[in-house]
């Protein structure tokens, strides 16, 4: 007897919006065409791009659950910097330019909303217990890079935080690993800027959880897809220019290569870029 599908759910995760409201609008359209049942945003709504209120307003209007990122925590609480975790002077210079712009341009009402966002959420999809966070379950601005995060550490996280799947963002680079059977770590990527690979498209994540039964057994299967999302990046670049945002940021939007924030990258991730 062939297995009988008893449950199928398709859910999308995205993060690192970085004020890219045009990519966010494109994502809502794209998700609609893919039969996505639920959408979750994992934070960092501001930074980098123009007019930060627009992304906030779209998310609030669409009633999409949002997890607080370090940027949202900083803007919401009126902190002096973005808590991005950069340590290089040049990276911090650009981070400050971007943060000061975003802070000035965010409305009081959206600041209050950002301040009140939850720092994590637990959801269930099929048989999987999923923990949503921004950086890591233990620290909002922890960088979990693909090539410097051991399986042993991920297994420790799954056990300590009682989760089958942990989804985060923060680094801006998507990745997925299953360090033990049925345990998945997913960095859902960022829709605010491309993942430093020379393409202008950005990334969000769709997971498909299916359960099938045959005879006396139920088997579950998780499929993780990284979706490359096209949007009107030339329009975004033009708006960034009109807002006086740095040429270095605009170059990244137009070329797909990171011009800033490179010093925090581990060796393998750094070697994939051109700077």
């Amino acid at each position: 007897m062939s297995p009988k599908l008893i449950n199928s759910e398709r859910v999308a995760f995205f993060g690192g919006v970085y004020s890219n409201y045009l990519a966010l609008e494109a994502l809502l359209v794209d998700a609609g065409t893919r039969g996505i049942q639920r959408l979750y945003c994992l934070g960092d709504l501001g930074a980098f791009g123009p007019r930060p209120d627009r992304a906030c307003d779209i998310l609030r209007e669409a009633e999409i659950p949002v997890i607080q990122g370090n940027y949202d925590n900083s803007v919401g609480n009126g902190l002096a910097d973005c808590q991005c975790g950069y340590t290089d002077p040049r990276d911090n210079y650009f981070a400050k330019l971007s943060y000061d712009y975003t802070f000035r341009q965010t409305s009081r009402e959206n600041k209050t909303w950002l301040r009140k966002l939850p720092t994590e959420a637990r959801i269930r999809i099929g048989p999987y217990h999923i923990l949503l966070c921004h950086g890591s379950p233990r620290k909002m601005n922890e960088f979990l890079w693909e090539t410097t995060t051991s399986d042993a550490f991920l297994n420790w996280l799954f056990e300590k935080y009682h989760a089958d799947i942990i989804v985060g963002t923060h680094t801006g680079l998507h990745w997925h690993r299953e360090p033990s059977p049925g345990k998945h770590f997913i960095n859902c990527g960022a829709i605010g800027r491309p993942p430093n690979d020379g393409q202008t498209t950005v990334v969000y994540t769709v997971i498909n959880a299916e359960s099938a039964s045959s005879e006396n057994e139920t088997a579950s299967c998780l499929k993780v897809d990284f979706v490359r999302l096209a949007y009107d990046y030339e329009r975004l670049a033009a708006e960034m220019t009109s807002q006086g945002l740095p040429d270095e940021f605009i170059e990244t939007i137009r070329t797909g290569w990171w011009t800033t924030c490179n010093e925090i990258l581990p060796a393998k991730e750094r070697a994939r870029g051109i700077y």
Partner: protein, 305 residues
């Protein structure tokens, strides 16, 4: 009398260091905070067999990444075998003076890098952007030898992190960085990764320049509002041929030895050493991230909004 120094316990063992070359080095730099040299056998080379049980225990404890230091790690004949085993379970960083590299040995390293899903970082210490600046600290002819080693690494597809101890006033950082970038561009390193380190005024460095002054300590009151994760001893340990020590900076201090096994090295440590102050001031001192002074105040918002 009750000590005024804070006690810090291990939150989680994120980073495990190995003093893989002990205090044995082919160079004798006069800024070395543990006074390594060809003759300093205070801590010996670690063999593959000594190393393996710690690696296995580290995996069980959920260690995130591994660092190797000395002395000069490439003076240890077991190093490649040790790195191969490490890169099967996690990322590895090696702190080296790059003077022992050949194109053949770099090829072997590149092969280890390609066979792993994890990063293999090479961190090369270079303490000036010219022989005139570097050699008085590192030894005659070392600038040329280190640059040749860096070139071998670049040819092998590595992007080494160049580390330099700040032997100049901090106001000169920008000019110094420009000097390093120019010198490195000449050997083909166009966008170099550079980490500046503060001076640790112990070991040879205390003799070269000067030691700490009498009041340079971390006190309990200084921990209020401080991000303790900036301190290595909250998330790291280092293994030497003697056992498990609290951190790489204090590895040759007798009271840094905490036990024989990683699981017994969780006990809290009193920040009683003067070098703890430098770690406190600069944060994440020994990690690969470039160092910046720790920001204490986050209370002031940018203007308007």
């Amino acid at each position: 009398m009750i000590s005024d120094h804070p006690l810090l316990e291990l939150d989680h063992l994120d980073t495990l260091w190995f003093q893989i070359a002990g205090t044995i080095c082919n160079l004798r730099c006069n800024h070395c905070f543990i006074s390594c040299s060809p003759e300093n056998h205070a801590l010996g080379l670690m063999t593959f067999d000594q190393f393996c049980p710690y690696l296995q225990e580290a995996v069980q404890l959920g260690v995130k990444e591994f660092y190797f230091t000395g002395g000069e790690p490439f003076a240890n004949p077991d190093l490649l075998k040790i790195l191969e085993a490490t890169l099967q379970v996690g990322p590895a960083t090696v702190l080296t003076n790059a003077t022992l590299f050949s194109s053949q040995s770099v090829k072997q390293l590149a092969s280890l890098r390609e066979d792993s899903i994890y990063s293999l970082e090479l961190r090369v210490s270079l303490d000036g952007f010219s022989p005139e600046a570097n050699d008085p600290i590192r030894g005659s002819g070392t600038f040329r030898r280190i640059m040749r080693g860096i070139k071998h690494l670049l040819d092998g597809g590595f992007l080494p992190i160049i580390t330099a101890m700040r032997s100049w006033p901090i106001e000169q950082d920008e000019d110094q960085l420009t000097g390093f970038k120019t010198a490195l561009a000449e050997i083909g390193y166009e966008y170099p990764r550079i980490k500046l380190l503060p001076s640790l005024k112990i070991g040879q460095e205390a003799l070269r320049h000067h030691g700490y002054s009498a009041h340079d300590y971390v006190t309990r009151s200084m921990m209020a509002g401080y991000d303790r994760s900036q301190l290595m001893c909250s998330n790291s340990r280092i293994v030497s041929s003697r056992g498990v020590h609290v951190c790489p900076i204090l590895v040759d201090q007798p009271d840094s030895l905490l036990g024989r096994r990683l699981s017994s090295a969780k006990e809290e440590f009193e920040l009683r050493h003067q070098a703890c102050l430098t770690c406190y001031q600069y944060g994440a001192l020994c990690s690969n991230a470039s160092s910046a002074a720790v920001t204490f105040e986050r209370a002031t918002a940018p203007s308007s909004g």
